[in-house]
């Protein structure tokens, strides 16, 4: 049995838990706790350790999805969760530009952990004041070769398309590095 993992990261309240819930075949094992500090009271609960979802591919292969805690004081978990990941998704709340700087910081930290492919998901595209993905690319100075994709993390099809794009990016990187299939 082989297991592979992908990490879903992003700032506080960017939709990471919803993203994993939308696609996981098991009830997401979540470590959400009531929020006590006022500045973060935009929602009632937040993830303190990780969210954990699973997609069984077949008898020999399982994909695990790990969602990182969004609050800065739990960022010591990030490196632990990122170990051995295939790639990662950076989720951004497109309607809250005040979180873009933090998203950029998270992206750079994760790039530092491992040179694995990643995509940026411009979440909450159904919000009336959501920034468009291409505007987000400019605001966050994301290189042209990195995909910035529209996303609504509550929708399964949207989440599927993000994960597929990440997998295509992984294949593209394999092509670029000339990784051959074992005979």
């Amino acid at each position: 049995m082989q297991t592979v993992k992908m990490v879903v990261t992003g700032p506080f309240n960017s939709g990471k838990t919803q993203f994993i819930r939308a696609i996981s075949e098991i009830d997401v094992v979540s470590t959400e706790r009531k929020i006590s500090s006022d500045p973060e009271k935009v929602k009632d609960e937040t993830t303190v350790a990780m969210d954990f979802g699973r997609i069984t591919v077949d008898d020999d292969l399982i994909l695990y999805l790990f969602g990182t805690p969004g609050q800065k004081r739990f960022d010591f978990m990030w490196e632990i969760l990122s170990e051995g990941m295939l790639g990662f998704v950076v989720l951004i709340d497109s309607a809250r530009p005040e979180t873009f700087r933090e998203a950029r910081r998270i992206l750079e930290v994760f790039r530092g952990y491992a040179p694995t492919p990643y995509v940026v998901a411009a979440n909450k595209q159904d919000a009336p004041d959501a920034w468009l993905p291409e505007d987000l690319r400019i605001a966050l100075k994301i290189p042209d070769d990195v995909k910035v994709l529209p996303c609504v993390a509550t929708g399964k099809e949207s989440v599927k398309s993000i994960l597929l794009e990440l997998l295509y990016s992984i294949l593209e990187e394999m092509d670029a590095e000339g990784i051959e299939e074992e005979a």
Binding site: Q2, V4, I23, V29, T31, R33, V48, A49, I55, T56, V57, D58, L61, L63, F74, F76, M77, I80, E83, G84, M85, L86, A114, P115, T116, K156, K160, L163, L164, L167, Y168, I170, L171, M174, I179, E181, E182
Partner: protein, 227 residues
């Protein structure tokens, strides 16, 4: 004392709230009492306080969870909302703090493994003692180790003599190395198997960049499309 591991008496003993002999006698006399009843009896008779009981149970449970944090492999079964038997004592534990402390211990453990990767190495007293050694004070654990420091004793053997686990021996030896008291040396006749060295290298490589074949990515793509 192994007959009642996990029960109140062993928790109080481990936390230094009961002497060994007293714990043994209490356990024998109260073998038909559950933990809650036993706690009431001990508190009423002045052997321990309520705070002692709560603190001992909390520490005991936390130590189990912290040990789980250091697992690198193994299986566990998670049963949400499952309560222990009615007679067992339960205590509220703040999840965020447990995770923070557990994570700190993982990092400490990884650091100790990096600094002292091979417990088959031996120790010798340094040939060039530093001036700071004049004022050194040793912990009880360090004193235990001192008498066994010689090139023929591996660190693993010293740990076994004192019933110290890998974490305890690494932590203590690391402190002695940092203090400039001892040096690491290869014991006579020690051979590092080439296969083991290669496996270690491969393990480190996997941690940073998993070697995944194109076929696996294609299977993942097919599966997600079918969801």
């Amino acid at each position: 004392m192994t007959g009642y591991v996990g029960f109140l008496t062993s928790m109080l003993l481990k936390n230094g709230k009961l002497p060994v002999e007293q714990a043994r006698v209490i356990q024998q006399r109260a073998k038909d009492s559950d933990d809650k009843r036993l706690a009431m009896i001990l508190i009423q008779n002045g052997y321990v306080s309520k705070e002692d009981v709560v603190q001992s149970v909390t520490r005991y449970v936390q130590e189990i969870v912290f040990r789980l944090f250091t697992w690198t492999q193994g299986s566990f079964f998670f049963e949400p909302d499952k309560q222990p038997d009615q007679g067992r004592i339960t205590v509220p534990i703040e999840l965020g703090n447990v995770i923070m402390e557990g994570s700190r211990r993982v990092q400490e453990w990884e650091r100790l493994q990096d600094e002292l990767p091979d417990l088959d190495m031996a120790l010798k007293f340094t040939d060039h003692p530093d001036a700071k050694l004049r004022n050194i004070s040793l912990s009880p654990e360090e004193w235990k180790i001192i008498s066994y420091v010689k090139p023929t004793n591996s660190i693993r053997q010293i740990a076994k003599v004192h019933s110290m686990n890998d974490f305890q021996i690494r932590k203590t030896v690391y402190g002695m190395l940092q203090a400039g008291l001892v040096e690491l040396i290869r014991p006579p006749n020690m051979v590092v198997p080439a296969a083991e060295a290669a496996t270690r290298g491969a393990r480190i490589q996997r941690a940073t960049a998993p070697a995944v074949k194109r076929g696996i990515i294609n299977r993942l793509i097919d599966r997600i499309k079918r969801l």
